[in-house]
């Protein structure tokens, strides 16, 4: 196993009765990486996190977290070095925010508990609510308190399972800001989500999961692999002979109309093709409104993979 890997998963599978939740999943997460784990509901994301968090045992396959094999006698050591933030904040409503954190600090056997609790609350901007009962907090504040709890043991690996689920946009924005801050601290973050915009914004790499692993890579890699590269051209008026303009241009493989005054050009390299396309349009007397590479969102990638799979099955 690599000494650089924060998480290594090899042919992991989990079966509940007759239902296969996770099938033959393998991937590696580097230390300090923000890794997005995407998939629809019931795709096996939470099951995978629970296996890696030593809450449940895999049916087959192996995994290691923070360099320690999962399922060994050292599970307690893994739990000492990681933290898991679940979709539900999981706070004791009858205890104050500070009491919640102090309890968990003691479970981690931390010295100077009050200082550590204060540091964690400061990190999430909750020091002024330390003495409030958790039951009186809004969902956004509870999620922040939950994140503060996750920081107590200064984890090597943080599992964030749908951390913005059910939050309003402002609260979700705050939580994502906190996650960005954790990246700067060098914490390895395993982010489970089905909010693709936040995965694209935060993650170095993403894996798309639907019981089995569908794909893994950086968002750009996934886009390039799944979609042909193209340039979108918009003109003020339709071209009289678009074939004469676009055919034979360097790096242009083909074209098709895209609306009444638009054209979509399939290219091998947008940067190489764009100058030639622009010159050809000007030479044809066209009034060019815009020209640029079309970008597929991570959502396009996700839908392509998930729908492709559902279409096959």
């Amino acid at each position: 196993m690599s000494t650089q890997a924060a998480i290594e998963v090899s042919h992991l599978a989990k079966v509940f009765g007759t239902r296969t939740a996770v099938r033959d999943v393998s991937f590696t997460v580097a230390r300090g990486e923000v890794f997005g784990f995407l998939g629809p509901n019931g795709a096996g994301k939470t099951t995978t996190v629970r296996i890696l968090g030593t809450l449940i045992a895999p049916t087959s396959g192996s995994a290691s977290v923070a360099g320690i094999p999962v399922g060994s006698a050292a599970d307690e050591e893994i739990r000492q070095r990681i933290s898991i933030t679940t979709e539900a904040p999981g706070l004791y409503n009858r205890l104050t925010v500070a009491e919640n954190l102090e309890f968990f600090a003691r479970l981690y056997g931390l010295p100077a508990q009050n200082a550590r609790v204060y540091d964690a609350l400061s990190a999430v901007g909750l020091t002024n609510r330390a003495d409030d009962l958790c039951g009186s907090l809004s969902k956004g504040l509870k999620q922040r308190a939950s994140l503060a709890r996750s920081l107590l043991n200064e984890p090597e690996v943080m599992f964030l399972d749908e951390p913005t689920s059910g939050l309003d946009p402002a609260a979700a924005h705050e939580v994502l800001g906190l996650v960005s801050g954790l990246r700067e601290r060098g914490v390895t973050i395993f982010l489970t989500t089905h909010r693709l915009d936040e995965a694209e914004r935060l993650c170095d790499r993403v894996a798309i999961m639907n019981t089995s692993l569908r794909t893994i890579g950086t968002p750009d890699q996934l886009r390039r692999t799944l979609f042909t590269r193209s340039i979108a051209v918009a003109t003020a008026a339709p071209l009289e002979h678009p074939g004469k303009v676009f055919d034979g241009l360097a790096a242009v493989e083909g074209w098709q109309p895209d609306g009444p005054t638009g054209y979509l050009l399939t290219v091998t390299d947008p940067a190489a093709a764009a100058p030639g396309v622009t010159r050809a349009l000007v030479a044809a007397g066209a009034d060019v409104l815009s020209i640029g590479e079309t970008r597929h969102s991570l959502e396009d990638v996700y839908l392509e993979l998930i729908e492709d799979r559902e279409g096959r099955s």
Partner: protein
């Protein structure tokens, strides 16, 4: 190896939660009052002139009722103990910490045991004090010399321990506090059957019999501790299913996984 810091943390947390849980506070307050009023009234209502048969019956009844306190109070508290975690969604975060299941269970059990025992002995003590102060002298004498009195004092912690383990066992299996509390109260009744036979002197409560019964309860309590620890499996609690390790039911069909080339620096 049990980590005292972690176990102590659970005890402190549980006690703090119990103090602020109205249902627990009301139950732990009302039950002893109810089980105190009836026997006290029964004893104070009889006089020196009462026949010895009636006096004996009243004494048996009066000494039996306070024994329900160490059964019902911890049963109510322990039933809430795990279900409460499930209802608040705190069980999963708790199980992701380094705490072991024995430490967690022990912490929860001790946190219930201490107040339950305190309330039970207080109830018994208040009852005996009232009898000593306000009952007619022959009635008080009959009470103090009742053969089952020392046995019942001995049984209080053992009954409480039984109720705690039964309550914790039920609490791990169900998902609703009220259901857990009702089942726990039912589950705490079996030892009461034997104790009632002794209290009402259907079985003569000799020292040997009381000691044997106490020993049996102690053994059962210890066994129940291990039994509950086995039930308290992380996977079972989180997913509701038993862990199983075998070959997966199906292997990924060739071509269904599209993997991109490995990214440099990550493996």
């Amino acid at each position: 190896m049990i980590n005292a810091t972690r176990t102590g943390a659970v005890i402190r947390k549980e006690l703090a939660e119990f103090r602020r849980n109205r249902l627990i506070v009301v139950t732990a307050t009302l039950l002893p009052i109810v089980f105190l009023i009836s026997p006290t009234a029964s004893i104070l209502a009889i006089h020196a002139s009462t026949s010895s048969a009636l006096l004996s019956k009243r004494v048996d009844y009066s000494l039996f009722l306070p024994l329900l306190v160490p059964l019902f109070v911890p049963a109510t508290m322990s039933a809430y103990s795990v279900v409460g975690e499930k209802e608040q969604g705190t069980l999963e975060p708790l199980l992701t910490t380094p705490i072991t299941r024995v430490e967690l269970l022990l912490g929860k059990a001790v946190a219930i045991f201490l107040p339950a025992i305190a309330v039970s002995y207080l109830t018994f003590g208040v009852f005996l004090a009232i009898v000593a102060l306000f009952a007619d002298a022959p009635v008080a004498t009959a009470m103090w010399h009742a053969p089952q009195l020392p046995a019942e004092v001995l049984f209080i912690p053992l009954l409480a321990a039984w109720a705690i383990w039964i309550g914790l066992a039920i609490s791990t299996k169900v998902t609703e506090t009220r259901v857990a509390q009702q089942l726990s109260v039912l589950g705490s009744l079996p030892p009461l059957a034997l104790i009632s036979l002794m209290s009402f002197q259907v079985i003569t409560p000799t020292f040997g019999l009381a000691a044997a019964f106490a020993g049996a309860l102690l053994v059962i309590d210890c066994a129940a501790c291990f039994g509950v620890a086995r039930l308290f499996d992380r996977e079972r609690l989180v997913t509701g299913t038993r862990p199983r390790r075998s070959a997966p039911a199906a292997v990924a069909a060739p071509g269904t996984v599209r993997r991109l080339p490995p990214v440099s620096g990550t493996s």
